[in-house]
Amino acid sequence: MLELKSVHKNFGGLQAVGDVSFSVPAGAIKAVIGPNGAGKTTLFNLIAGNLNLSSGKVIFQDREIQGLKPHQVAALGMARTFQNIKLFHGMTALESVMVGRHVRSRAGFLAGMFHTPATWKEEKEIRDKSMQLLELLEIAEFADAEATSLAFGQQRAVEMARALATEPKLLLLDEPAAGLNIYETAEVGRLITRIRDMGITVVLVEHDMSLVMDISDEIVVLSFGQKIAEDVPLAIQQNPEVIKIYLGEDEEEAVV
Amino acid sequence: MTSTLFLQYLFAGITYGVIYAIVAIGFNIIYNTTGIINFAQGEFVMLGGMISITLLQVVPLPVAIALAVLITMLIGALIEIVFIRWLDSPSVLRMIIITIGLSILIREVARHIWGESIRSLPYFVGNEITTITIGSVRISPQVFWVIGVCGIMVLGLSLFFKITPIGREMRACSSNRTAAILCGINTRNMVTLSFMLSAGIGALAGCVMSPITYTQYDSGTSLAIKGFTVAILGGLGNSMGAVAAGLLLGILEAYSVAVVPLAFQDAISITILLIILFVRPHGIFGSSAAARLKEF
């Protein structure tokens, strides 16, 4: 589904990501972990098209996508969420999710202005699908609330629904459990597995080790922009290199 | 083109060039401290000229100029305190519109006070036909006043920012506001000071150029645009770059008279502005990294 080949990213003299290669099989849940500053979010930005690679390739569904703009990547079937939630100011939860349907709908300027009959059907379909997603994420009651006024966990849900609305084949989740308590984190874990069961491949960046160990099929470990290890959760937990880079942090967490 | 004409254009270009540079530096000082582009910068220049002309009726010329500069500085401070100071992290769009509105208001007030007539200060030395001969060229001594005064201002500012405590505090402010606050620097006063400084240098430039370029209630607008062009050209926030860019624009404009009808002369600087914005927004001498540093 997704393959990274020797991805490099330099900012001036600083190497943020160096020679990272790994692949994500379809239908898998793959986690990218590493201490702060390891380059995880940078990697996401490189995959999703927000940043240009210094060198290397990103291959999505057998297609090289490095250099494409984010909206093109989204149209190809890759959606992402953001670390600090980026919701649309001034739009309700429902409307935010409806924007997610943008790549799966067509009405353009003229059709919009003249409110042609063709758009009536499309609009209804967009609205219905969006409501379905809100129900899936159990926030349907907030459909008409201003998205940015919702509680943190609910905002995350809106962002997730919005990403799902694009009918992605691959979903990039940037720290989906950040700021959530134990129960909410468990919910997120359940949700992610449900998403995988719907046929969507998931790649997530996460700090919460319990979530990562719980649901991931495979884990990639980054440190200072380099890939240190790539293996199943159990092996990662016992990998001496991995334990070493987490030394100084809570050792307890790394060896759950 | 004869060598006489060539030199004539050159001096005209340098004269206007340093004026544009001073306006640009005014933009830079406020931008460096606040991140705001003060669209009313041109009006400070106009006010300097206008106020000094009025004061000339009661006091001698040097006093009139000094007072005009002081009054304009006070106006600058007033503007900052009344309109800008209490805003709570406003968006860029909002600030742009506010300063545009201020520019219009000041212009209209000026129009109601001084009317639409064109005025000027008398030549500092001699009158409009006095000339100094350099080589084959005859140049008004006022030109040297302009170049000299503006040059001294640039030097003075450079020293001010490098050596004096207040100047260094202002640089600290622009470089990292939070750290500056933590060091005990009163950033709010620094902002007011930056407005006063920009107003002051603008006003002085306005006085010294008045005999040559005349002063009218709306002479601020085109100056602001050219000053902004120069500021961008030299790299926003980079005042040494502004000096070089100012000279470049001034000289380009001066020589353009030979190729382009006079009526289109203004269009030249705007076209340059547009080209720069499209192609290289951080200017000739700026780099996007340096632009972030926002140093003098």
Binding site: F88, M98, G108 | L274
Partner: protein, 364 residues
């Protein structure tokens, strides 16, 4: 929910139409028909302003040069319908245009032979040119942000102003006058022809043409905002990065909206020029552009109805001379006051909130 929105939109437009009709009848009854002229002009300016609202309020792009597009529309239409092509009548291009029916011949005041563009053809050409210029300009300009964008659009407006002021073809400082009326409907049976012109006898008709055009333009924009495109625009305004990540081609949308607003401005320019019978360089001035921005700001950046009301209201007052010689100052003051106290427009002003500590939402 969807039907309710649609109904309330039509309801509001319906109310507007009724208001328009009532106003006209009122002027008839009180014999104050002279108000119709300024109301007509206000409607055309409002057309420009609602187009600008979408660009500024929804796509979040400031444009300090929209008077330029108004002027392009007006000037081109004026020039094409007044400049005599008779000397070039054997030129293949002119012959081609003539065979398409786009030229008319006649005689001017002095009995000279005249060959000019038909108003309808000039109108279409003028608007098309404005659209093309907006497109070409928009591509680099809309990549800019903040101050740079403001300056670039300001610069554009000034260039148009300078061209109008300096070139002989556009009449220099005097502008172009004696622009013929724009015939909308030819004479049919007992009905005389309907044309946009300063003809006093057609004053009432012109009033309805202007307001009709405005209502149609309004309806189109309101539809747009509720549509998929409108949502995409609001998303861009809300968070450009997120919109891009979700699949919205932000660059193209910003450009399209910009061109759309330029078309609105150009149409307003064309119609107003034919109504007034002429146009001058002041229509392209910076002050006009600033005025339009002020109207959008005071009406509420993303509030089309608010901008419509403020646009018509303030323009009407200005045209009636209520502000006297302080006209420009008034709009400057409006700009400042609105931006200081009510950045979301006057209608959103919550006086109580003003005096309590508030978290400003304008950090985007």
């Amino acid at each position: 929910m969807n039907m309710k929105i649609k109904e309330s939109k039509l309801l509001k437009i319906g109310l507007l139409v009724i208001l328009v009709i009532c106003t006209q009848l009122l002027t008839q009854v009180t014999d104050t028909q002279f108000y119709l002229t300024q109301l007509t002009m206000s409607a055309y300016y409002a057309l420009l302003v609602i187009g600008l609202t979408v660009v500024m309020g929804y796509a979040g792009q400031i444009s300090l040069g929209h008077a330029g597009f108004f002027a392009i529309g007006g000037y081109l239409s004026a020039a094409l319908t007044t400049h005599n092509l008779i000397a070039l009548q054997t030129h293949p291009l002119v012959e081609g245009l003539g065979s398409l029916g786009m030229l008319v011949s006649g005689q001017d005041l002095y009995g000279e032979q005249l060959l000019v563009f038909a108003p309808w053809a000039a109108c279409i050409i003028a608007v098309l040119v404005a659209a093309v210029i907006a497109f070409v300009l928009g591509i680099p300009v809309l990549k800019l942000k903040g101050h740079y964008l403001a300056m670039a659009t300001l610069g554009f407006g000034i260039i148009i102003f300078r061209i109008g002021l300096a070139s002989e073809y556009f009449g220099e400082a005097d502008g172009i006058s004696e622009v013929p009326g724009l015939t909308l409907l030819p004479a049919l049976g007992p009905f005389g022809s309907l044309s946009v012109s300063g003809d006093f006898g057609l004053r009432v008709e012109n009033y309805y043409v202007a307001w009709g055009l405005l209502c149609v333009g309004l309806w189109l924009l309101l539809n747009l905002i509720d549509s998929r495109v409108g949502r995409a625009l609001r998303a861009i305004h809300g968070s450009e990065e997120a919109a891009e990540a979700i699949g919205v081609n932000t660059a193209r949308f910003k450009l399209n909206v910009f061109v759309l607003s330029a078309v609105y401005a150009a149409i307003a320019g064309v119609f107003l020029t034919h109504y007034n019978g002429g146009i001058g360089p002041s229509e392209a001035s910076v002050m006009k552009s600033v005025r339009y921005v002020a109207l959008v700001a005071v009406g509420g950046m993303a509030n089309i109805w608010g901008t419509l009301i403020m646009g018509v209201g303030l323009t009407f007052l200005s045209l009636r001379g209520v502000f006297g010689s302080y006209d420009d100052a008034v709009f400057g003051a409006i700009l400042i006051l609105v931006m200081l106290f009510a950045p979301d427009g006057i209608l959103s002003l919550n006086v109580k909130a003003l005096f309590t500590a508030k978290r400003t939402t304008d950090g985007h």
